[in-house]
């Protein structure tokens, strides 16, 4: 499963909408509960865990991608 697939699945949006600029302010389905779902699914998909600042700070697809890259995941 690709990064885009995980994000699209977690947020229940078309993969075409998973652009770097997409975020909590632009995707109406990116609610707080979906954000939790996204975090949980990313943790499972990449076998890692996020700390509080990473969970709270990743509010756009780009920021999520940057957090993963900082953890050594190529996305």
């Amino acid at each position: 499963m690709t990064f885009t697939d995980v994000v699209a699945g977690a947020l229940d949006v078309d993969p075409a909408h998973v652009t770097d600029d997409a975020g909590q302010d632009t995707l109406s389905s990116w609610t707080s509960m979906r954000h939790i779902q996204l975090i949980v699914m990313l943790e499972e998909a990449y076998s890692l865990s996020f700390d509080y600042e990473e969970i709270a700070g990743a509010r756009t697809v780009r920021e999520v991608r940057e957090v993963l890259r900082a953890k050594g995941v190529e996305v």
């Binding site: 499963m1 995980v6 699945g9 977690a10 229940d12 302010d25 109406s28 609610t31 707080s32 509960m33 939790i36 779902q37 975090i39 949980v40 699914m41 499972e44 998909a45 865990s49 996020f50 700390d51 509080y52 990473e54 969970i55 709270a56």
Partner: protein, 444 residues
């Protein structure tokens, strides 16, 4: 992950739920939903969930206008933890028992896990007043009060935590972020336990187990017999449907227990693996052991709590909630902005708070008998008469904080107008203001 995606997919189908399950917990229990939902869907019991805001067990159960009271779910699942409720835990369970009785709900209480933090360190286990002793006593009190009731059952968070392993059971960052204490694995285990209970309660556990003749399955058959299943050995070549008909059981209530590729027709099959050492786990995971005991008319009368169920007013008064409103200063500015941006349920629809705008802004600090919540909300007043920021963190909802803030605002500023923008999530704010008789100015 697959479970979550499957639950989303199920949600898009037109399968009509036949059971409404209400979830109340002292923590955020939403991650349980996909695990329990999928397990019950697969068992042929489509369900819908209603989840109340976290840590509002007592209020939801005692307030007849609460979200859960309006739903009156068929099944009420209540999951308290010692960490949030302390010595109020039994009060929460008593309130749940009372509510389930009034609403006609089947009650399932999730026995709380023994806290990891021990008051007396390594010597805690030997102390009569230690964390472990106190927790075990409360757990057994709950079990004793609910065991034997025809309208209630318990499952056990301790067992779920143990199955996963303590080191992999907790998610500190997610707890700090969203009050979710457990990992997905624990919610998966809890979902399995709850699904087992609800399958049994709704008569979905197969009654008849048909065993292959000469298959060497005597031991699993014994486990199943001891759990209350009817065991029948089928003759060679006999169809499961014929065995079921002979035993007077619908074929859908029969299951074939086998080692090989034996044909079962339309009946479900439990095919055990080649290693007998794994059979116990396979049988347990299949749910075939999940059976309610037969009614025992000679059983002693159910032991009910001798504690009086606390009233909502008494409970709220006992929380000793204290609310302070203080002007925002350099020390509190960042936290206030964060609280406003994160408040989704109780907010006037303010997404971002700009502190450079011409507006009086107050930080709301809250504490109660359970501890300090710090800055938990904010109020902004423009022009002395218009409230355009009124946001509270979920952490402090259900404690009457919003009432206290509104009273203070009215006392100090007189009649105010609340500028409200509806969002997909802030209905409770409009409802609260309407009930309080506040003047609301709706904005697009």
């Amino acid at each position: 992950m697959d479970t979550r995606l499957r639950w989303q997919k199920i949600g898009r189908t037109d399968v009509r739920p036949v059971v409404r399950v209400g979830l109340l917990a002292s923590y955020t229990i939403d991650p349980l939903v996909p695990h329990l939902g999928v397990a019950l869907h697969d068992a042929g019991l489509p369900v819908a969930f209603d989840t109340a805001p976290y840590n509002q067990i007592v209020r939801q159960c005692l307030d007849d206008t609460s979200e859960m009271a309006r739903v009156k779910p068929d099944v009420l699942v209540v999951a308290p933890r010692f960490e949030e409720l302390g010595d109020e835990l039994l009060t929460a369970v008593d309130a749940a028992v009372s509510a389930a009785r009034r609403w006609g709900s089947f009650l399932v209480v999730v026995l709380p896990a023994v806290p990891e933090d021990r008051a007396y360190g390594q010597l805690d286990d030997g102390r009569a007043a230690g964390t472990a002793a106190t927790a075990h006593e409360a757990r057994e009190t709950i079990r004793a009060e609910l065991a034997g009731r025809p309208d209630a059952w318990v499952v056990d968070a301790e067992r779920a935590v143990r199955a996963v392993g303590t080191a992999k059971a907790h998610h500190a960052a997610m707890f700090k972020f969203a009050k979710i204490p457990y990992t997905e694995a624990v919610f998966g285990e809890l979902g399995g336990q709850l699904a087992g209970v609800l399958r049994a309660v709704h008569g979905l556990t197969p009654r008849l187990v048909v065993v292959e003749s000469g298959a060497g399955l005597e031991e699993p058959a014994r486990w199943l017999r001891e759990s209350g299943a009817r065991i029948v050995v089928r003759a060679e070549g006999e169809e499961v449907a014929d065995v079921a008909a002979r035993e007077g059981v619908p074929v859908e209530s029969a299951v074939l227990l086998t080692l090989g590729e034996a044909a079962a027709g339309s009946a479900p099959v439990l095919r055990l693996g080649g290693k007998p050492a794994g059979w116990r786990d396979e049988v347990t995971r299949s749910g075939l052991l999940d059976r309610l005991p037969a009614p025992d008319r000679t059983a002693p009368r159910v032991r009910h709590s001798t504690r009086e169920t606390v009233s909502l007013d008494d409970f709220m008064a006992g929380l000793n909630v204290e609310v302070d409103l203080e002007p925002v200063g350099p020390d509190s500015a960042a936290k206030v902005v964060e609280v406003v941006s994160r408040a989704k349920d109780f907010t006037l629809g303010t997404e971002k708070l700009d502190l450079t705008e011409d507006r009086e802004v107050f930080a709301v600090r809250v504490r109660d008998k359970f501890g300090q919540y710090g800055i938990s909300g904010a109020v902004g007043i423009t022009g002395g008469t218009v409230v355009d920021v009124f946001s509270l963190s979920c952490v402090v909802l259900g404690k009457g904080v919003e009432d206290v803030v509104l009273q203070r605002l009215r006392a100090e500023h007189g009649d105010l107008v609340f500028r409200h923008r509806a969002t997909p999530h802030n209905q409770i704010t409009a409802g609260f203001l309407t009930d309080a008789g506040a003047r609301i100015e709706e904005i697009p």
